[in-house]
């Protein structure tokens, strides 16, 4: 696997070191770096100047141990070495741009990209947990035992977002749980941090699965937290339809409307659906029956469709 560093990330990280924002950088080295950097401004050709800047920044990126730091984290995931063709690190401008992505090319193979803000290089305590977490995402995605698939078994785009949101939470829980359990001899602060992390995730989990009773939430959360070998299929099954709404054959609060597929708490009164509207629905959903119900929004649409008249009437 080849490691690639984006120019902007390297430059930003080195600038941060030279400005004393990362500890353990000797001031004399920072001065040497600045003097070398100043000289490059005199190179007249813009492309040659850019190349020279990148070479210099990369040299100090290595000199100040940042490249080794990243390589050390990567070594924690031996599976990546054989599974990826390249692993790139690039600069993220904002927190919501940070993360890891896997790009699969049918001929050129798999490439991983990790995006991170340069401020993470200020403290190892910000950088290392982030990298360990994101690289475990990549490791899972490339591990056949995890069985990752990018397909989401839901067609409605809004529902897909909901499912992916839940899936992301579940996956993050299992990742940080596995990382917490890795420490061979947990120290007092490490145990406290792990416990705080677990509480934070549990709160988030309870919020996402508030429709379950407390006993079930606790049971599922503990199972996730203690799962040493989670699988994609299991996580996705928890994310896709946690209420079991798809199996309901009658309208239930929070169930899915059989027409639009959205979860709804606003079911139409079956007795109030007139025969013309039911007929209009059946023209598009032949197997639909009034007993299956429909949300008020859909019923309204089909009622309105009764009022439509062919444009030719007005000609």
């Amino acid at each position: 696997m080849q490691l690639l560093y984006e120019e902007e990330l390297v430059e930003g990280a080195v600038f941060l070191c030279a400005n004393g924002r990362r500890s353990c950088i000797p001031p004399l080295q920072a001065s040497r770096f600045s003097r070398s950097r100043e000289r490059l401004y005199d190179i007249p050709d813009p492309d040659a100047r850019n190349n020279a800047f990148f070479a210099l920044h990369l040299k100090w990126f290595r000199e100040w141990g940042l490249a080794d730091l990243l390589a050390g984290v990567i070594r924690e995931y031996p599976i990546l070495d054989g599974a990826l063709k390249t692993l790139s690190f690039r600069r993220a401008k904002a927190r919501n741009e940070e993360g890891a992505e896997l790009f699969v090319h049918p001929e050129e193979g798999r490439n991983g990209v990790v995006a991170l803000r340069i401020e993470r290089f200020e403290r190892d305590a910000d950088l290392l947990p982030f990298l360990l977490h994101e690289l475990m995402h990549l490791s899972d995605m490339t591990d056949p035992a995890f069985g990752y698939s990018r397909d989401v078994p839901v067609r409605n785009p809004s529902q897909q977002q909901l499912v992916l949101g839940r899936y992301r939470l579940l996956w993050d829980i299992t990742i940080d749980a596995r990382l917490s359990s890795r420490t061979p001899k947990p120290t007092e602060p490490a145990s406290r941090a792990s416990s705080e992390l677990k509480n934070r995730y549990e709160t988030e989990f309870n919020r996402a699965y508030c429709f379950w009773d407390e006993a079930r939430r606790r049971e599922v959360f503990e199972a996730l937290w203690n799962d040493a070998a989670p699988r994609h299929e299991r996580l996705m099954s928890l994310a896709v339809d946690p209420r079991g709404a798809a199996a309901m054959n009658r309208p239930e609060p929070g169930g899915l409307c059989p027409l639009c597929g959205f979860s709804t708490f606003d079911w139409a009164d079956g007795a109030a659906i007139c025969s013309e509207t039911a007929e209009a629905i059946r023209r598009q959903f032949p197997s639909w029956a009034v007993t299956q119900g429909a949300c008020n929004r859909c019923v309204e649409v089909y009622e309105a469709s009764q009022l439509e008249q062919p444009a030719t009437l007005f000609l």
């Binding site: 902007e8 430059e11 600038f15 400005n19 004393g20 924002r21 001031p27 920072a30 600045s34 950097r37 100043e38 401004y41 800047f53 600069r91 993220a92 401008k93 904002a94 927190r95 803000r117 340069i118 401020e119």
Partner: protein, 423 residues
């Protein structure tokens, strides 16, 4: 460190260089009360100076919604916080105005230069107290646009009963127009390790020498208003150049007289008035009552500097918004706020005339005259008598040519019948 006199603070202060002052100083007054945040100024600047590669996040002029907005995000809150930490509960004014040399009283707290001496940044002592914004803070230049602050949580579809009454609205925001203040004591200049930043002798415009700059970003860190910006594509810092070719009278359309910047000239709300100010040897404004800026800042005292307590002696002045709670405004514009709002709310005859000069011509008005007209209206405003005279104000360029002639009462044009519905 040298000791310089800062009239906005009413006292001497420490500054890394000796005091030297330009022949004239670039300055401007913005009337916040009239801004609609159309961002025409922002785009006028962007389309003139910062449309190239690497300048995507560069907004030399921006208009932000206060109290939440800011570019970079929360620039002022972060700096106020740093100053408060450096001098807990000590950032206070002794508000006894001493006329021209101390019109807002005496500031007893610490400036960014004072506070820097006790503040050790990771790489050593700073020249001016500051911080380097993150990439994230440079994103979204108009974040929090139109987000109001309220004492009470609102209800959808309902107005506050009585919440809109002056002197303070209970739900409020306002637009703050910002560009480089071309400060008298620039923190960016003080902090530059390459001495690449200089203040022009002819007009006091602060510039970064692109040949000398080596991208250390100390100016970005030190400027309390966060107006120098780093450009990754050239690896140098850049900032507002005060449209200096226009100030020099090199705009082809205006006949060789000093012309207002693009952002001023483009303002459709006519909230901006820019000019050049003559200075005394101690940096205090030379008395020139016929100059509209001198009148607004030193005679009517309706225009106040932005965060004077930072200590850089900014040359941008603002007529504060009438509806915003006073403690917020006092923090932002100093102790002159209450008197300024009172005068602006019930303007006298001369102030009303001078306010008509805003945005009327792109040439810089060096002097004005008022021709008296008849009284056309009288009333009381919040218990004070107010009389409206239809005076005519005439503005002259530096060469003495008439550039503006406008009456206080806006002329009414009655469209003839045959064109009643045409534009």
């Amino acid at each position: 460190m040298s000791t310089v006199y800062n009239w906005q603070l009413g006292r001497e202060m420490e500054y890394p260089y000796d005091a030297t002052y330009p022949n004239e100083q670039f300055a401007f007054v913005f009337n916040i009360n009239r801004c609609i945040a159309c961002q025409t100024c922002t785009m006028a600047c962007k389309s003139t100076w910062t449309f190239s590669k690497g300048q995507e996040y560069m907004w030399w002029n921006n208009v932000e919604t206060k109290p939440y907005g800011g570019y970079p995000h929360h620039w002022d809150v972060k700096l106020l916080d740093l100053l408060e930490k450096a001098n807990p509960e000590g950032q206070i004014w002794n508000d006894q105005p001493l006329e021209k040399r101390a019109p807002y009283g005496r500031f007893g707290g610490k400036t960014v230069f004072d506070a820097a001496q006790q503040n050790l940044a990771p790489e050593g002592a700073q020249a001016a107290l500051g911080y380097l914004p993150t990439d994230e803070e440079w994103s979204g230049p108009n974040k929090f646009e139109d987000n109001p602050l309220s004492e009470i949580k609102g209800k959808r579809g309902q107005f506050f009963p009585g919440g809109e009454q002056l002197p303070n609205h209970k739900t409020w925001f306002f637009y703050l127009q910002r560009l480089c203040n071309h400060c008298t004591y620039p923190a960016c200049l003080a902090a530059c390790p390459r001495k690449a930043i200089y203040k022009r002798r002819e007009d006091g415009i602060v510039l970064i020498d692109q040949e000398r700059c080596r991208g250390y970003r100390k100016c970005v860190e030190a400027c309390p208003y966060k107006k120098p910006m780093y450009r990754g594509a050239t690896r140098t810092s850049e900032k507002c150049i005060g449209c200096y070719p226009r100030i020099e009278g090199r705009e082809p359309d205006t006949g060789g007289v000093p012309t207002q910047t693009r952002c001023m000239a483009g303002c459709i709300g006519q909230i901006r008035l820019q000019g050049l100010i003559e200075l005394n040897p101690d940096g205090v404004w030379k008395e020139n009552r016929a100059n509209p800026l001198y009148y607004l800042v030193h005679v009517a005292k309706v225009a106040l500097p932005l965060y004077p307590q930072f200590g850089t002696s900014p040359n941008g002045y603002y007529i504060p918004p009438r509806w915003v709670p006073r403690p917020y405004l006092r923090q932002m514009f100093g102790p002159g706020v209450d008197a300024a709002i009172e005068r602006y709310t019930v303007p006298d005859r001369e102030l009303l005339a001078v306010l008509q000069l805003f945005g009327k011509d792109e040439r810089i008005c060096a002097r004005y005259e008022i021709q008296k007209g008849p009284k056309v209206f009288e009333t009381t405003v919040r218990g004070k008598p107010f009389e409206l005279y239809n005076d005519t104000i005439i503005g002259y360029s530096r060469k003495g040519q008439e550039i503006v002639r406008v009456t206080v009462e806006e002329p009414v044009h009655i469209r003839p019948d045959q064109h009643a519905n045409s534009i």
